[in-house]
């Protein structure tokens, strides 16, 4: 009788221990799925950062590489924190990528799915969220705080404030802002397997691709040179393009300039144009209206050139030059050229 009680007590204790262990295990082994985009053999930078994000969020990371990528690039994801890589070799459109990510999430039992908050992420993550009934935070600035509820911070009101958002569903999706956690190698290796789940046929027909003017896509550029009405007319953009070329920057413009057709619409940065967050944003002859600032205030460093010392942009700038753009910019070009030459 006593023995029996002891045995049952012991069994009960072991069960509790097992439950406790499994809880700990579940936490450490939280399965994280990361969407990684590739094209022309290369993995996109945002994809590497996604893997780092998944690792920092705490869990075993499975990277889903979508698109053509060299084998060496694919297996190198282990160095950034992935323990497993699924390689989807077909070039799918966003609709099919939702099917791919849903199948991969199912296969690994993912509790967290990570996307970069870029054009592909915006096309895929909301649909996956609605399909899986997994709460989504778009534009996360970092990884969730450890312990307790799952909360991440994101910019709101176009960078004028930050919100902490809690995801209340069991399965969670985070689309992180590029450059929010950075890219670092932590060492490690990943197993790689080809992954080809069934996808629904797309009703969207791809007709053609037209290259936009400019060599560097604005949204991916680390350096951006931008100009506004202070330049007086489209004929004066030569020096802006030259400056951009010297430092390897993309060119951008303010809304009035795009609306006056001095520059193409896709160069318009601001609240209603493109929002960017480059490392360096050089604004020339732009006064800095609040709507313009909303699109660029996430830039790491802002340089403002304006002949009006009262221009509101100076308040948001790290470095300011009060002077005539037509004199300052050519000098700037010469100084950057000198600097570039000294680097070789």
């Amino acid at each position: 009788m006593i023995l029996k009680t002891w045995t049952s007590l012991f069994a009960c204790f072991m069960m509790k221990l097992k439950l406790f262990n499994s809880r700990i295990k579940n936490y450490n082994d939280m399965s994280v799925l990361v969407f990684v985009e590739a094209s022309n053999g290369k993995i996109k930078k945002a994809g590497l950062e996604g893997v780092v994000y998944g690792k920092l969020a705490g869990g075993s990371v499975t990277a889903v590489v979508c698109g053509e990528a060299d084998a060496a690039e694919v297996s190198s994801l282990g160095e950034y924190g992935a323990s497993q890589v699924f390689h989807v070799k077909k070039n799918y459109d966003a609709g099919a990528l939702v099917d791919v990510m849903a199948a991969a999430a199912d296969k690994v039992g993912a509790s967290l799915i990570v996307f970069p908050f870029d054009s592909t992420g915006k096309a895929v993550a909301p649909r996956l969220s609605a399909r899986m009934k997994a709460g989504l935070v778009s534009g996360a600035l970092g990884v969730p705080s450890a312990g307790g509820a799952f909360k991440v911070k994101k910019n709101v009101f176009s960078g004028k404030a930050i919100a902490e958002v809690e995801i209340k569903t069991d399965k969670k999706i985070v689309a992180f802002s590029p450059n929010s956690v950075g890219i670092q190698k932590t060492g490690g290796t990943a197993t790689v397997e080809e992954f080809s789940p069934a996808v629904k046929e797309s009703r969207i027909k791809f007709v053609e691709t037209k290259k936009l003017e400019g060599d560097i896509p604005l949204t991916e550029a680390e350096l951006v040179v931008s100009a506004g009405r202070g330049l007086k007319g489209p004929e004066n953009w030569g020096m802006i393009e030259e400056l951009a070329k010297v430092i390897g920057a993309a060119t951008a413009c303010s809304r009035p300039v795009a609306d006056a057709h001095w520059r193409p619409h896709h160069e318009h940065v601001g609240q209603t144009g493109v929002a960017i967050r480059p490392n360096l944003y050089i604004a020339i002859g732009i006064s800095g209206a609040i709507q313009h600032l909303a699109g660029v205030n996430q830039s790491k460093v802002i340089v403002v050139v304006n002949n009006d010392p009262e221009a509101p942009f100076f308040k948001a700038a790290d470095y300011g030059v009060v002077g005539d753009a037509f004199q300052v910019v050519p000098r700037m070009i010469e100084s950057f050229k000198k600097f570039k030459a000294s680097q070789h």
Partner: protein, 247 residues
């Protein structure tokens, strides 16, 4: 052709952003509300242009919000929308809004659902994709140009330095961005006509929000601008290299 344009109420772009209730609620005191710019300038105006070009069709606007949102609905009607639907609920999160709109749209016969590329308050860019998924329709984002030929929508989408030209049989959901149309200022006739256009009030379905904002904070303040002698651009380059470390 029947087009549904989703509009959202947002604070005017120049609003001072502040919070109440221990930084858990957006302070609406003295805030002027407007129709979210990309919903109005790109989605709504393009929908009206398509109707005008085709010479037939109907443009309906929908928003999820309380009775006070009728003010921004009247603005959208003044620009030229034919009628409006207000789903009578406080928007809780993107999924809640998308599910309410999809529930309504399923009972109608729309060829196109347009949203703006993102709202300027919560910057999520989520509702369009969620509606598409809930409707089982295709979704194209961003759409910088939109034309319709018979039952086919032709879209130009600017992504990563290139323009992709796409075609899709309707119905589908499109997220409207810069380039699609230009802002229209309502004229007096439009404003007068908007007063008598119908706003249908629809009661919401029961949906649980998936995310919630728990706290707001202000971003760290800038240290202040460092002014550089306009004659000495070598110094600017030196600072960008040595101090800011961005070149």
């Amino acid at each position: 052709m029947n087009i549904l344009v989703c509009i959202s109420k947002v604070p005017d772009t120049t609003s001072k952003i502040a919070f109440t209730d221990n930084n858990t609620k957006f302070d609406t005191a003295n805030v002027q509300f407007i129709v979210n710019p990309s919903d109005e300038w790109y989605a709504l105006v393009r929908a009206l242009e398509l109707k005008e070009t085709l010479g037939s069709g109907n443009v309906t606007i929908v928003t999820v919000g309380p009775a006070e949102d009728d003010a921004i609905i009247r603005k959208a009607l003044a620009i030229g929308a034919d009628d409006a639907v207000r789903i009578n609920a406080n928007p809780q999160d993107s999924f809640y809004v998308a599910a309410q709109i999809a529930e309504y749209a399923k009972t109608k016969n729309f060829d196109l659902i347009l949203t703006g590329k993102e709202t300027i308050d919560y910057n999520n860019a989520e509702v369009g994709g969620m509606i598409a998924e809930l409707m089982g329709w295709e979704y194209i984002t961003p759409a910088n140009k939109l034309d319709v030929n018979g039952s086919i929508a032709r879209i130009e989408s600017e992504v990563g330095g290139e323009t992709r030209v796409l075609e899709c049989e309707m119905p589908l959901v499109i997220s409207a961005a810069k380039g699609m149309a230009e802002q229209r200022i309502p004229n007096m006739r439009g404003i007068m006509a908007a007063r008598t256009k119908p706003i249908q009030v629809v009661e919401p379905v029961a949906i649980s929000a998936q995310v919630a904002i728990t706290q707001f904070e202000m971003p760290p303040a800038k240290a202040g601008v460092k002014l550089i002698d306009p004659e000495n651009m070598d110094e600017l380059v030196r600072l960008l290299h040595d101090e800011a470390k961005v070149i």
